[in-house]
């Protein structure tokens, strides 16, 4: 706390989701960019209160699905009619119909990978270390407390002003988190 370069951010604790949401609205309006709200469950309306845009996970999932669909057909076509042609009952070597179940499953599988791994990628998870996870008080974030953190690296961060802003939101506790 004494050395500002060692500090990660200013952490404010709230006991209800409504208080944390009002605080988020204030910080959003004050124009901060490197800040976050930590809650034990997703609070509805918090995305708006923080001014977050719609999540981009859907695009990852869509690209995964499109890849699965294309790769599925290419795989079956290559394996059964190019690399190792199998004649079954004198039928054409390839048709879009018979591999459909396989392609369908590949589409779903890769969409699911897109959703999960896209989510992890956007969230930069897994992360083996986070300054907040060293903080004893922060354990409440997965239990029943709500936290707002403004990082010291935020361009608008000035300790006295930021502290004042957080105090005006009526938080129950405030402390500086070490990096």
């Amino acid at each position: 706390m004494s050395d500002n370069s060692q500090a990660y951010g200013l952490l404010a604790e709230f006991t209800t989701p409504a208080d944390a949401m009002h605080a988020a609205e204030k910080i959003r309006d004050a124009g901060y960019s490197r800040w976050d709200v930590h809650t034990p469950f997703p609070v509805h309306g918090m995305d708006d209160a923080m001014g977050l845009k719609d999540s981009k996970v859907g695009w990852f999932s869509f690209c995964g699905g499109a890849t699965g669909f294309t790769a599925g057909y290419l795989m079956v076509w290559f394996m059964n009619s190019v690399n190792y042609p199998i004649v079954v009952g004198g039928k054409p070597l390839f048709s879009p119909m018979f591999p459909f179940p396989v392609v369908y499953e590949m589409t779903i599988l890769l969409s699911a990978f897109g959703a999960l791994f896209g989510m992890l990628f956007l969230n930069r998870l897994p992360k083996l270390h986070h300054p907040l996870l060293k903080n004893r008080r922060f354990k409440g974030a997965t239990h029943d407390k709500f936290y707002v953190i403004i990082e010291t690296s935020d361009p608008r961060y000035i300790e006295s002003e930021t502290r004042e802003l957080l105090e005006s939101t009526g938080c129950k506790h405030m402390e500086m988190v070490e990096d």
């Binding site: 989701p17 208080d19 988020a24 469950f41 369908y104 499953e105 969230n123 996870l133 997965t142 239990h143």
Partner: protein, 347 residues
């Protein structure tokens, strides 16, 4: 539950390929036998894809749902090993709202993707039978019939497992009578669909005018395996009809006992479909009477053991009820509710 059941189910094809060390031939893997690949026209291969995708997506969905709860346990558990293990598997989750925003979207997508998967996996399993030419298997009703049967037996099994856990762990306020009642209604609806499918199979066997098909069904109900057929009918069609009565739906002991009958009935359905069609096919010289060997029975008993081991380990080490999801739907979690800290007036 799905995951553990699929693991158990995976043992059987493993045994039934006969030469277990060639089980990897099921998958289109590059190999040193020249360029040689599986034959994608076979429904058995479709099934390989359906079941493995089903398992993978269910597993990811399950794990993803656990991440925030693993973080909760990480922050509350004691002891180095636990802290380390839960910390590792919770992937550094901090409950950040920027993360929740992506997480919720991904979770919604996974839920949406799992739903058609439930339909497809059971449809494709039914293709294993329906695409063959054996009387009693070669029917177009199989996909919807298997899907209804799967939902029916799934709900039956969940009731069987949930009702004892609910009283052992005192979860009456989370798993309420209303939940059980609604599950009974789904069981009733799907059980009745299954009953309709049984009736329709017989109707088409007669109406279709195919003598082999007609014989297969007569043989099913009145042949040497008549007992299996009528156990199936009474457990699957008659048992759920008790759920028409609210008094029975709200009595957990009755529901539990009936759910056991549902499980027995669905086991017999598989038995009836597989055995009655196979034991008398087109060639009377091949006709016989199948009775399970000791190995058959013990393999089956073994799957119960494997399932219970996995299930009990799950209960022991992981949250039985999704913690963050239950928190999220309470009034205390709603920022627009007085209990959630909203002060006067509406937003």
């Amino acid at each position: 539950m799905t995951i553990f059941a699929v693991m158990c189910a995976g043992i059987f094809p493993g045994i039934h390929v006969g030469r277990i060390w060639f089980a990897w031939w099921l998958f289109p893997l590059p190999n040193a036998n020249g360029p040689i690949w599986p034959q994608f026209r076979s429904p058995l291969l479709w099934d390989v894809f359906a079941v493995s995708t089903y398992f993978t997506v269910s597993f990811l969905f399950w794990y993803m749902g656990l991440i925030p709860d693993l973080a909760t346990i990480r922050d509350r558990c004691k002891g180095f090993i636990r802290k380390f293990a839960y910390g590792l598997f919770s992937l550094g989750w901090t409950g950040s709202n920027r993360h929740w925003s992506n997480y919720e979207k991904a979770y919604l997508l996974l839920a949406g993707l799992s739903t058609p998967l439930v339909l497809s996996v059971h449809s494709i399993v039914s293709f294993d039978f329906a695409v063959s030419q054996l009387p009693g298997w070669h029917t177009t009703i199989f996909p919807p019939y298997f899907v209804a049967g799967a939902i029916f037996s799934g709900f039956g099994m969940v009731l069987t497992l949930m009702i004892p856990l609910r009283s052992i762990f005192k979860l009456e306020d989370l798993l309420t009578i209303r939940h059980i009642e609604l599950m009974c209604k789904v069981t009733l609806a799907t059980g009745t669909i299954v009953g309709y499918a049984y009736g329709m199979e017989f109707f088409i066997a007669w109406y279709g005018g195919n003598p082999y098909e007609a014989y297969a069904f007569q043989n099913r109900a009145f042949g040497p395996y008549w007992w299996a057929y009528w156990i199936m009918i009474s457990c699957n069609v008659i048992t759920p009809q008790f759920f028409w009565f609210k008094k029975l739906r709200t009595n957990v002991v009755v529901v539990w006992v009936l759910s056991i009958f549902v499980n027995i009935g669905m086991w017999f359905e598989r038995f009836v479909i597989v055995v009655t069609s196979l034991h008398r096919d087109y060639l009377p010289a091949n006709w016989g009477y199948y009775s399970p060997t000791k190995v058959d029975v013990l393999t089956f008993v073994g799957t119960f053991g494997l399932f219970m081991v996995l299930f009990l380990l799950f209960i022991r080490f992981l949250p039985l009820i999704a913690i963050s999801e239950v928190k999220g739907v309470t009034n205390q979690a709603d920022p627009h509710h007085p209990l959630g800290g909203a002060k006067g007036g509406h937003h």
